[in-house]
């Protein structure tokens, strides 16, 4: 009994870590640029397809594709930010929502055109498959890898935010853009780099998540709710909030489905409603 409980907990943590990886970029973007980017899932999908393409066309081993995917998606994200997104920073949220929905539709249609509407098969390297017996519980090796990767990335992000100058610039711009600009911080540059970072991470999340979440052209639309929930519950702009929210959502979703499968799907929405009633700006969000 305890074994299965720990197993479920672990699965929840793994699922939550994946959600966090993809959503953290969205959280920072929404917090920093006050831009509702519903197309965030499209960047994750792009990362996934790039990974598949690299593995099948170039024969690159799975782990090597991850940094390449990160860089590629980050560059594309930066380019889009410079050309399109930046025009809408001052626009109202409705316009941003519609713009990003439009981008999402285009991405979905393009993916269907290039890769077809079906699932993409991905072969994980052998050392990442199967299960490991750890302290009486069977843990999936791939999920362990996921959790490990996300811990690594979270720590790096934390270091970036707290120990580097760039991190300080980001935090300053999130807190008060005008003041930060007034202090001589190049807010524009911060925006571009942060957006690139966020989308790059989403790309990695998409690649890493193929095995768990699947990959097909409707990926951005299917999972958009989850990413938005993580950001809404965690609070836009807060990495800590995203971690907590993603873990909570992941654990509750998985545990709910295991213990009470009849209402499995509702748990995540019910949780969202409850949390948003008590924390309207999210767990760690800025107050209006």
């Amino acid at each position: 009994m305890l074994g299965s409980c720990l197993g479920v907990l672990f699965d929840g943590v793994a699922y939550g870590s994946l959600l966090f990886l993809i959503s953290v970029g969205l959280s920072v973007t929404m917090g920093l640029m006050n831009f509702v980017n519903l197309a965030h899932g499209a960047f994750a999908m792009l990362g996934g397809y790039l990974c598949v393409a690299l593995m099948s066309r170039v024969g690159m081993p799975f782990l090597w594709t991850l940094p390449v995917v990160f860089l590629a998606v980050a560059v594309i994200g930066a380019a889009l930010e410079r050309t399109l997104y930046r025009r809408l920073y001052k626009a109202n949220h409705l316009d941003q929502v519609l713009f990003s929905i439009g981008l999402t539709f285009m991405a979905v249609a393009a993916a269907t055109y290039v890769w077809g509407p079906n699932q993409q098969p991905v072969r994980l390297p052998d050392f990442l498959r199967g299960q490991m017996h750890v302290g009486g519980v069977d843990l999936g090796v791939y999920r362990l890898f996921l959790v490990g990767l996300v811990i690594l990335i979270t720590l790096s992000l934390h270091l970036l935010m707290t120990k580097t100058r760039f991190g300080a610039h980001i935090r300053a711009s999130v807190d008060n853009q005008a003041a930060a600009a007034g202090l001589g911080i190049h807010v524009d540059k911060v925006f571009v780099l942060t957006f690139a970072l966020g989308t790059g991470l989403a790309g990695v999340g998409g690649a890493v998540g193929i095995d768990v979440l699947g990959l097909d052209p409707t990926f951005p639309i299917k999972y958009m709710v989850y990413f938005l929930l993580v950001v809404a519950i965690g609070g836009a702009g807060s990495i800590k909030g995203s971690v907590l929210a993603a873990l909570v959502l992941g654990i509750f979703d998985v545990a709910g489905k295991y213990y009470v499968p009849e209402i499995g799907a509702f748990i995540i929405y019910g949780l969202m409603l409850v949390l948003l009633v008590f924390f309207p700006s999210g767990l760690y969000g800025k107050k209006a």
Binding site: V97, L98, G102, A109, V225, L273
Partner: protein, 345 residues
């Protein structure tokens, strides 16, 4: 309550125009409740279409219903500033209510319509508590979550709603005991048109009233309106419920005219498409909702039959272009054009 247009002062000889201030835009800033020629012309079109396109009446009826649905969203989005990604929840509630009534023997259409609308309004009350309180972003996500919740609930309650297979084979009785719903869609078209027109008149009256004006004020700044003594929360809740009732009416109409209700009436794509229709036509103008719905459904019918897979791509592109260059949608574009033409004179 409304300022009546002042007639020309008696002393002026007819034909001599009063010099108008040259720098002010000619578009009237005060709400004008009078029917312009353009509006009358607009409303002549649907009855004309009835006679001109007898083979397209079902499509026409669905356009009219979508127009009503878009109208309901315009009330909260264009006038009160609440962006909702889950409005299909109310549409679906109205549809299922009317559909269930018809399947269980209550075949009178008008009462079904009223009950569907009422059900949506009742259901919107608890939802409004969450939506009206929140801020922009959280509110958006709450509406999204609510929409999905309704969808899952309807799926789960398959004992009642028949889930994915949908409610079918319902007997919808004759309208007024006289007009049966036929295969060609004649009754459906006229029924939808009448309901749309009547509800539109009501909306028009509403937005030109002080209540409607206060909503516009709230959209611009809730805090300022509160400081003027306007009960902001109550106004928003009221308009939200009214909007839900209209959406429910649209849903009930769809159920009755197609004799079918499926889970797709509650789906996210329905809410998203609604948003697109409204923005395409232009928010905050009532007519924008109708024009947007017409353009969207016509384009979908034509383009989807040409190239189904890439309809989505062009739709996305169109959205991006509209947002970047043609904010205010079709009607906004017309207004800008009209303004430029006038200035150019």
């Amino acid at each position: 309550m409304m300022a009546r247009p002042i007639s020309a002062p008696a002393g002026q000889p007819a034909g001599k125009a009063v010099a108008a201030p040259s720098s002010l835009p000619e578009r009237s800033l005060l709400p004008a409740d009078r029917w312009s020629v353009r509006e009358v012309a607009f409303w002549i079109i649907p009855p004309l279409c009835y006679f001109a396109f007898p083979g397209y009446l079902m499509l026409g009826s669905q356009i009219l219903i979508a127009g009503l649905f878009a109208l309901s969203l315009d009330l909260i989005m264009g006038y009160a500033g609440i962006v909702s990604l889950g409005h299909a929840a109310f549409f679906g509630t109205g549809a299922y209510t009317a559909g269930l009534l018809a399947s269980h023997g209550w075949s009178e259409p008008l009462s079904g319509l009223l009950l569907g609308s009422a059900a949506a309004a009742v259901v919107s009350l608890p939802v409004s508590l969450l939506v009206v309180r929140g801020q922009d972003l959280g509110r958006l996500i709450v509406t999204l979550g609510i929409g999905m919740l309704f969808f899952e609930a309807a799926n789960k309650a398959a004992m009642i709603t028949v889930g994915v297979d949908g409610l079918s084979g319902m007997e919808v009785g004759r309208l007024f005991g006289l007009f049966a719903f036929d295969l060609v869609g004649r009754t459906a078209y006229l029924y939808s048109f009448s309901v749309l027109f009547l509800l539109f008149l009501a909306c028009r009256r509403l937005v030109h009233s002080p209540f409607g004006l206060s909503l516009r004020g709230i959209k611009e700044s809730g805090k300022r309106m509160a400081s003027l003594g306007v009960p902001v929360q109550r106004r928003l809740t009221t308009i939200f419920i009214i909007s839900a009732a209209l959406a429910g009416a649209a849903g009930a109409l769809l159920a009755q005219t197609t004799q079918f209700v499926g889970l797709d009436s509650l789906s996210f794509s329905r809410s998203a498409e609604l948003l697109i229709m409204l923005v395409l036509g232009g928010t905050g103008r009532l007519y924008g909702a109708l024009i947007g719905a017409t353009l969207f459904l016509l384009a979908q019918d034509v383009l989807a039959s040409l190239d189904p897979v890439y309809w989505q791509f062009w739709l996305g592109l169109m959205l991006v272009v509209v947002v970047l260059y043609a904010r205010g949608g079709v009607l906004g574009g017309f207004e800008l054009l009209a303004l430029r033409l006038r200035r150019g004179r």
